[in-house]
Subunit: 276 residues, 4 copies
């Protein structure tokens, strides 16, 4: 049986990325408090295809994923990328996983426990000469209360569910929970899956005391990440599902501390989370 | 060339619905204030397939849609359904269109004009013996402010963007704008694409003066539609993008004044708007 | 602190459903081959609200969900519904969970193993007088190859990814895997996450030997489910992402063997899977 | 009434982008064959916020959009961007519009006419010193038939709906229709909303004669755009809804002919189409 993918190609065009997208896959992820947790990821895997080959062998990517099943961590992504480059004879490889991650929360007054879902993204990139790059993405829903609405209104102030997304590269390990905390402290109030009446009062009042514009949210996050020497690059975005408008409010800040080639290449291929 | 669809089928099974889904199509819709407006619909068309036929002829549905291009109204849907039944030799036909519809709004204080998008659904059904049925669906974003949060908190109250959806059948013509108004008056406040500072103050204060639970929204709408003799059946749903929770709040009321066979059949095939 | 939800309401309108939607939650589900598996569900929980109450207590629904964490099965859904009715003083309750479920598959020639994701829905309903009802939903991607295209073309035939969805009520227990098998055998060919070259040849040739229209898929499934005395009601839908068209093809068959009141009520509240 | 947005900010952090997202808006777009056509866009507008300001004035963006209503073309986007920079006192502005665009097609044998929907994106960027940049994006559904499956199988070959997306910058004007044609000629076959039996035979056979991998599609497009001196930068992506797999195949090629500062800045803010 012919290996059509191995045929040679005469067009002399390398393909920046080719591979499999949107593989639904059960994974185990390490959490700070909970040891490890089981969740379900959407996985993309691609490699660069050199000009001389007609095609890549996508089934090998799925085989590599199968071999590490149940153990995808920030720590073993470099090995997965190395396997991809070797198995597919490629100078560059990318893998990204997006998955819900659950954090145990206690309501602020009643201490009622509940499971808070955030969205997490792992994106790894490897280049045969430039080395490896890893981006951690975390998206967290929060409350934001409008400073202008509060100041000009006799009572009340419009507030809404907002999604704050942080992407970072770093030198040493970072816990997902720490990024969540950075985001929540930059908003009007963190939110919860379960609130009893006393908790609802506390969250309402806290949000009213801490009004923030979209601009404030990204500046608050930015200030913390800029001051943290462990963070080498970051991008923070916020999207507010405005309660007084039909459209959304958006803000973004991105800062480089390094301009490493490997990061620049990684960002060319980096998709982030889907739009909300 | 053989007409495979016309082959006979031996299994003796009628197919309740078969046809084309998700056709993106430019349409012209009549509005109360604006004469007619141009928009883009997502169109589904299906017929019942009798047991003796192997398949329907889906291209004929697209041809029928092409013939009426630019003129899809509540008034000519019966003709479209009649063409579908005749052309496809079928006792039942359904067509549904979902499209954004724009309403000119003036901000409450500054009177600044803007275009407010709502979602509209036309669903027509025709049965060879039972006659025709038409369902109008309208989905409108509003603000809802929580009565409990207001009452128990020293200041402020959580509020959020909510989507209220009304489906109705009726005897005489109903304007989309009238359904929008019914919905907006059942919420804490209507919302706008464009608000200057004075408007923002007015909307914030109005919402604070009119707190509603999800339960209140659907009861408020229900009370109006129940009292309107022109309405023969309705369903109202609301979905609140809770600003203090990660999940949504939902409520629904449905009431029949008639139990017409044709409506019951229509509802078996009725999909409504997609989930938000 | 006042319990605003407990205030009385004067409008005399019962709310058919009110509750929480779209809770993201980790669950453990029993599988035939795999013992139990961990996955993540999207959960909706609602109750009927009697006319005399102003509101329901949504936080109690989340508490009930927390109490059974990790153990949501077809078997314990009646207890969850019973807790909901008791805790919220309601004659009716509904819970639905939608989650990806993974099946170990072996490729047809190479026997390479892989994890095949299908979508599963559990919907439970309970009525104080009518009793309980349970609907199982399973959505499976398959290949469908067009009989007309095959017959009229010199070579080749258009085929595409299609999603077949089956909803059933039943007397005795049904395995998710059995519904998947019924669906796959009604299509041109089952599909796989991992195929080596010999497998790809086998799947391509099998699909070419088994052309089916959308009409055939739903009739094939319908024939099997109609003949199965354990099945009391079913609905089967198929959506074909046509490879020669921009729109999709759709077909649906629904059959009742019982017309139980509790099923009819359940269906009024039943949303099924979201549209693809 | 205080202008809270105009308050000064002490953190010294400029915000790269802040503004309004997801405005649904009716627009009129010029087409080659059809004069102009009416459609509905999703619009994002953002500006850079200088460190000294607390917030931007989002309502002014909506006002600017209102002023040009019905006339958004590649030609007047620079004026919109200029108004945004002036009105919001900002060195940088971005506007992007995504909308369905309809092309009249005739079926290949019967010449039956129909309206073919493609997705179009206009993204304009303006920098006070670097000047203006414009990216045109076009996403087109096509058929792709697998060369490997064809070669190794006795008969048939798996094929599927694929979405090819091209983003370009250029010196002189480019018609949307020309980009669509480039994409369609790079696939196994263009597809149609309406095909009679003879047309279906023609499309099936054409696809069978022109098998392409994802790699081939992006290389075919790449070859044409690289040879076109009018094109200054491009990115081409393809996503195949594999008919034999549950996941998708993906490929991407990006090439720069210029490395203009303004393009590099624009790409930092460029989101492209949402994932399929």
């Amino acid at each position: 049986m012919n290996d059509v993918q191995n045929y040679s190609d005469k067009r002399g065009i390398s393909v920046d990325q080719v591979g499999v997208w949107d593989i639904e896959y059960p994974v185990t992820v390490k959490g700070r408090a909970s040891g490890s947790q089981n969740t379900v990821a959407s996985v993309d895997m691609t490699v660069q295809l050199l000009p001389q080959f007609k095609g890549t062998h996508m089934s090998r990517m799925v085989e590599i994923l199968n071999r590490v099943r149940g153990e995808i961590t920030m720590a073993n992504i470099p090995q997965i990328l190395s396997s991809m480059r070797t198995s597919l004879d490629s100078p560059q490889a990318v893998i990204s996983l997006r998955f819900p991650y659950f954090i145990e929360k206690k309501a602020p007054v009643s201490a009622s426990p509940s499971l808070f879902p955030v969205s997490v993204l792992f994106s790894g990139f490897s280049d045969s000469t430039g080395g490896d790059s890893f981006i951690l993405g975390v998206r967290v829903p929060v409350t934001t209360l409008c400073p202008c609405s509060k100041e000009i209104s006799v009572s009340g102030a419009h507030n809404q569910r907002s999604f704050v997304t942080v992407y970072i590269t770093f030198k040493d390990f970072v816990w997902i929970e720490d990024v969540v905390e950075t985001i929540e402290k930059s908003s009007s109030s963190e939110i919860y899956p379960l609130l009893k009446r006393g908790d609802e009062k506390a969250v309402t009042e806290k949000a009213y005391e801490n009004p923030v514009f979209a601009e404030d949210v990204v500046r608050n996050v930015s200030e913390k990440l800029s001051a943290d020497a462990n963070i080498r690059w970051f991008m923070v975005e916020t999207l507010h599902l405005e309660s007084i408008h039909t459209h959304n409010a958006y803000a973004r800040v991105e800062r480089f501390k390094d301009r490493a080639f490997v990061l620049e290449e990684h960002l060319r291929m980096f998709k982030g989370f889907p739009r909300i």
